[in-house]
């Protein structure tokens, strides 16, 4: 087995209004692994994801990325290693052009000049968006924005990508293109999604989250074939979709 990229141990988090969002959340992800994070609305998936790079800070428990424990001192290093792709690309793409947006992360890490240029081009190339380098983000289509959003964190050369609802608002063709792009990246990925067929196609392993903790962890095709488990946690397969007969 590869070494662990992310080790999350017994995280507890409460929102200021007292709602408990995470309640003993533990998860380990290994290098190169793609793991789907499934669960109903309000299960704590996004809250958990924002703990991985210290945007949310847990009351108790610990987060270790690449052997480095998350703390005030290691925040910058952890944020380099955890590439977070937000749900709405309009939140992620805030610079005037695609080039500057992809350069934003590495530039904050002190990368400059030719190396910065090379990283920007490599990141855009790996998502097939190099031709869009000079465009303004708001002139791209939804699918293009999503792929550029992935490039903005790839340029930081992260150890793990965290994707929050990557297929939301995408048409089936854009969704297919995104799947191909993500499958082609060697980096470990945590994919938060309601899109169960997408999870099955992209991620060999899945965890089900409910009530702020992991309630099931196993091969995606096994979890999705367990009707009782899905029903207990408000997960539903699309009409007519049978994970047991999908060619894998």
């Amino acid at each position: 087995m590869h070494h662990a990229v992310v080790e999350v141990d017994d995280l507890t988090f409460r929102y200021p209004d007292g709602t408990t969002a995470l309640d003993g959340f533990s998860l380990t992800v290994h290098a190169g692994e793609r793991v789907a994070v499934l669960g109903p609305n309000g299960a704590g998936k996004t809250t958990f994801a924002l703990h991985l790079n210290g945007i949310n800070r847990a009351r108790s428990g610990r987060v270790v990325v690449d052997g480095t424990e998350l703390s005030e001192r290691t925040l910058t290093e952890i944020r380099r290693r955890v590439g977070h792709v937000f749900q709405d690309p309009d939140d992620q793409l805030f610079m005037p052009t695609v080039r500057e947006d992809v350069a934003f992360g590495p530039a904050n890490l002190g990368v400059t000049g030719d190396e910065l240029q090379a990283r920007v081009e490599a990141a855009l190339d790996s998502v097939g968006m190099l031709a869009m380098i000079g465009r303004a983000p708001h002139h791209l289509s939804g699918g293009e924005r999503r792929r550029v959003a992935v490039a903005t964190v790839l340029s930081m050369e992260p150890s793990i990508l965290v994707l929050d609802e990557p297929t939301s608002n995408l048409d089936p063709a854009s969704r297919r293109e995104l799947t191909t792009v993500l499958e082609g990246l060697g980096v470990a990925q945590l994919v938060i999604t309601h899109d169960l067929p997408f999870a099955l196609e992209l991620c060999p392993r899945a965890v089900v989250v409910d009530g702020g903790r992991v309630v099931a962890d196993g091969p995606t095709h096994e979890l999705l074939a367990d009707a009782e488990l899905l029903h207990a946690h408000r997960l539903e397969l699309p009409y007519g979709f049978d994970p047991r007969v999908v060619q894998r």
Binding site: T76, V82, F86, D90, F94, F104, G105, N108, A136
Partner: protein, 256 residues
């Protein structure tokens, strides 16, 4: 490489004027307009010289005359006001095409029209050869507080997003039969404005989180072109040099 369809005032190109560092261009336009404003209104030749200087810049930048002229129409309302001056001003009168007009008013109208046209043409040329993010970068290098330039940059980026949200909200209202005609029907508009404000505020928080996630630490990285070189500054001086020298010469001639 295309900079996209950046903004309607921009003419894509790679001329010497386009390549000039933005801060040099910004200073050049301000200094040029300063010179134009100082030029005595009697010195027709000085204004003509300024116009020729702008025409040369436009030619070097390959900005079509038509493009400049159609955009210069924004000063039309001011020109309209200026044209009233000869009729309303006091003092000695003269006849133009059989109509009695005030001499002082004629001079006033001429001065406003000439200065406004030269000033607006200079700004149109700046906008035509410089993308807005570059103009902002120029201001930043001229020691305008980064907080102000960043607010302007984010406003530009999110203007279309917010306008899109507003458009969808209006469509949703119309779809449910809202067709305001009277003032007392304005309440949903106010509620909509409030909702838009909250949404924009929340988006601001999400963008901030996205910036933190990519290692932002309070200052924006330097990503746009190199700062102005001595050669840039020298070239940029040429334009204001014309208007300032002309203003000075005209003032000296008027005194003798």
């Amino acid at each position: 490489m295309g900079a996209g369809h950046s903004h309607p005032l921009h003419v894509h190109g790679h001329s010497a004027v386009h390549r000039l560092a933005p801060e040099a261009k910004v200073v050049a336009v301000f200094a040029f307009v300063f010179g134009v404003a100082l030029t005595p209104r009697e010195a027709f030749w000085a204004f003509a010289l300024d116009a020729v200087a702008l025409a040369v810049v436009a030619a070097v930048a390959k900005v079509p005359a038509r493009f400049v002229l159609t955009r210069a129409t924004v000063v039309a309302p001011f020109l309209g006001l200026a044209l009233l001056l000869p009729f309303v001003a006091d003092g000695p009168r003269t006849e133009v095409l059989g109509v009695a007009v005030a001499v002082e008013g004629l001079w006033g109208a001429w001065a406003i029209a000439a200065r406004a046209l030269l000033g607006v043409t200079a700004s149109i040329l700046l906008a035509a050869t410089t993308e807005i993010p570059d103009v902002l970068k120029g201001f930043e290098r001229l020691r305008v507080p980064p907080v102000l330039t960043q607010i302007a940059a984010f406003m530009l980026r999110y203007l279309e997003v917010v306008a899109g949200e507003l458009g969808r909200m209006r469509t949703a209202m119309t779809a449910r039969g809202y067709d305001p005609r009277w003032l007392w029907q304005a309440k949903p508009i106010a509620a909509g404005a409030g909702a838009l404000f909250i949404r924009s505020y929340e988006r601001g928080e999400r963008v901030h989180a996205a910036m933190l996630a990519r290692g932002w630490n309070g200052t924006m990285p330097e990503l746009r072109g190199a700062p102005a070189t001595t050669a840039d500054w020298t070239r940029a001086t040429l334009l204001p040099l014309v208007s300032l020298t002309a203003a000075l010469a005209a003032a000296l001639i008027a005194r003798t």
